[in-house]
């Protein structure tokens, strides 16, 4: 980690615009996305290529939740709620958009346009989720620990119930054109929203995985990230340092929700039909486990834990129903053996230099 000593020595350099530092990670994001898209089909069969998309979605979900739960230390249990908002808004943008523009859904001759609609859906889903994050973040500022967990848990349930109350999905172009607004928000109640074409290829999903990771990692090391971490460490001291709790807590909630929304929107474009139960407690818990297992505050830890926890049940299909039992056992073992998670606040690559650093620190 870059320390103040290093910062102050190269003050002009650190403030200077260095194109390599600014652009390289984004180029790397595209490269990663292409690599996954091209290499995966060569190594795995269709089934596992599809699993890989699911893995990507959950990596985004876990890394984004880590911004609130890990880096800022505010225990949110409603991440599935934000994901579901992104899911439905994203799916409906593509679906209703297709009906309005092309008169039908999933017309592959318009593949490029379909992808454009999906990207629009991602933006819309992210914005809607961010808005919800703002609304939940504001009142949650007054709450700590368990109380915050309960409120955010309630939020997810509210979203679930609201989704169940939506009216029947519009399935004709004429129906959509008659009342586009109503059509957009007709999410088909408890049955779930179906018919969204699977535009989210591994390229798009892993592109957003990479973007999310770069943003989260840079955020963690930015000035805002320092503020987030200090709030997690000691709220009173953070306030005494002049850190505006309201501003930074809301900022964390909004950012996490926005990326959660992206994860949801991508998920609904993988051939999975979003249903109200997606907003519920169980999905939130799945993501929390990933964050806790990886280490609260460790971006790379969340990535690895998400990969592990999506692949594991796939490999142990027979144990699918016992997943929650397994999680509980896993959590208990973690709390006993390694309460800070696999990596704590550190990143995977920090561990190599760690021993040397510890020895150098105590002369």
């Amino acid at each position: 980690m870059k320390t103040l000593a290093q910062h102050t020595k190269d003050v002009p350099a650190s403030r200077a615009f260095r194109p390599a530092v600014v652009f390289l990670p984004w180029v790397a994001c595209v490269a990663v996305a292409f690599a996954v898209q091209l290499v995966a089909p060569a190594l795995f069969d269709d089934y596992w290529v599809n699993v890989l998309r699911r893995v990507g979605v959950f990596v985004i979900a876990a890394v984004s939740l880590n911004i609130v739960n890990g880096i800022t230390g505010q225990f949110s249990m409603g991440h599935a709620g934000f994901m579901a908002i992104g899911s439905y808004i994203g799916a409906s943008t593509t679906y209703t958009g297709s009906l309005l523009l092309h008169g039908s859904v999933g017309d592959d001759s318009f593949a490029v346009q379909g992808t454009m609609l999906m990207l629009g859906g991602l933006v819309a889903g992210a914005c809607a989720a961010a808005g919800a994050g703002y609304l939940v973040g504001l009142p949650s500022l007054r709450l700590r620990g368990d109380y915050l967990a309960i409120v955010t848990l309630g939020f997810g349930e509210i979203i679930r119930v609201l989704l169940e109350l939506t009216s029947k999905q519009v399935d004709t172009a004429d129906g959509a054109r008659a009342n586009p607004f109503a059509a957009f928000f007709s999410f088909n109640g408890p049955t779930g929203f179906f018919g969204t074409p699977a535009y989210a290829s591994n390229f798009w999903i892993w592109l957003f995985v990479a973007i999310t990771c770069v943003v989260a990692y840079r955020l963690k090391r930015s000035s805002s990230g320092r503020a987030f971490l200090s709030i997690r460490e000691d709220e009173i001291a953070a306030r005494a340092m002049g850190i505006d709790l309201t501003k930074y807590k809301v900022r964390a909630f909004v950012l996490a929700a926005a990326f959660g929304g992206v994860a949801g929107a991508l998920f609904s474009h993988t051939g999975v039909n979003p249903s109200p139960t997606d907003a519920g407690f169980q999905r939130s818990f799945d993501i929390i486990i990933m964050v806790v297992l990886g280490g609260l505050g460790s971006i790379s830890g969340s990535v690895l834990a998400a990969i592990l926890l999506v692949l594991l049940p796939e490999m142990l299909r027979g144990l699918q129903e016992y997943r929650l039992v397994l999680y509980a056992v896993l959590l208990i073992v973690m709390m006993l053996v390694r309460p800070q998670g696999l990596f704590g606040v550190k990143e995977v690559w920090d561990l190599w230099g760690a021993k040397r650093k510890a020895r150098g620190g105590t002369p």
Binding site: M1, L4, R226, L229, I236, A240, M241, G242
Partner: protein
């Protein structure tokens, strides 16, 4: 100079350079419990003023109200000519009033260097921050040796030093210190108080809250004695230290 609260206070004639901090009739409540019943105090530029008193007297509450961490129920707080009673803490820190909270409050999972960096959070003058950081590390050479160490692994004394150094990085005109001697070995307490005096001699005004009345009265210019949310005595630190009441109540003399 010295009066007890029962004697009528003379109208304070403000000396020409206005005090850096003037607190008037400050009251603070936690729910139904009133922690401060209207206290008034002033801190002049360049002074060390100490607030002594037993557990639950309201010392920490006073500091928290001044730095904006708790909202006063009534009263005025004027700092450097500006009313700050209704300001949020981040605005108050910007004005150069830095609070070193009770129980040190270092960020345990961050390195010493990162803790110091957070002390300068609201500043963007990198060069001046670097100078102030060097100054702070000169005051606490031990911290320099441990820059990369996690703050949580420091000893109690070192954590206290870090907390003070971090508060100094906000470049305060007024430094609020809450119980810097809490839980420290006598020798470390001596060191800390010597450094507090050094900081003051370098031009920082200090409002010091202490249970260790003996040390506090030695280092301070003036003192206020707080008892269950009221100021019961005030005056020159040396005179207070030799007064019978203070000796009996706070210095362990019989």
């Amino acid at each position: 100079m010295m009066q007890t609260a029962t004697a009528p206070l003379p109208v304070p004639r403000s000396p020409l350079p206005a005090p850096l901090l003037a607190v008037t009739d400050l009251a603070v409540s936690y729910g139904a419990i009133r922690a401060l019943h209207g206290i008034s105090l002033t801190v002049n530029r360049g002074e060390i003023v100490t607030l002594i008193g037993g557990n639950g007297a309201g010392k920490t509450t006073t500091l928290r109200a001044i730095s904006g961490l708790v909202k006063p129920a009534a009263g005025a707080i004027v700092y450097d000519g500006k009313s700050i009673a209704k300001q949020p803490p981040h605005e108050i820190v910007k004005l150069g009033l830095s609070h070193c909270p009770e129980g040190r409050g270092v960020f345990p999972q961050m390195s010493v260097a990162e803790n110091l960096e957070l002390g300068a959070y609201l500043r963007s003058d990198d060069a001046a921050i670097a100078t102030d950081r060097e100054k702070a590390l000169d005051l606490f050479p031990r911290l320099r040796e441990r820059l990369q160490q996690m703050a949580g692994t420091l000893s109690g004394g070192e954590q206290q030093m870090l907390a003070i150094a971090r508060a100094l990085l906000a470049r305060p005109k007024l430094l609020l210190l809450d119980e810097p001697s809490l839980g420290l070995a006598p020798q470390i307490v001596q060191t800390i108080f010597r450094i507090i005096r050094d900081i003051n001699e370098q031009g920082t005004t200090i409002l010091l809250v202490e249970q260790n009345a003996h040390m506090a009265l030695k280092v301070a210019h003036r003192a206020y004695v707080l008892e269950v949310g009221r100021i019961v005595m005030q005056g020159d630190a040396k005179e207070l230290a030799s007064s019978d009441e203070v000796r009996k109540a706070y210095l362990g003399a019989h």
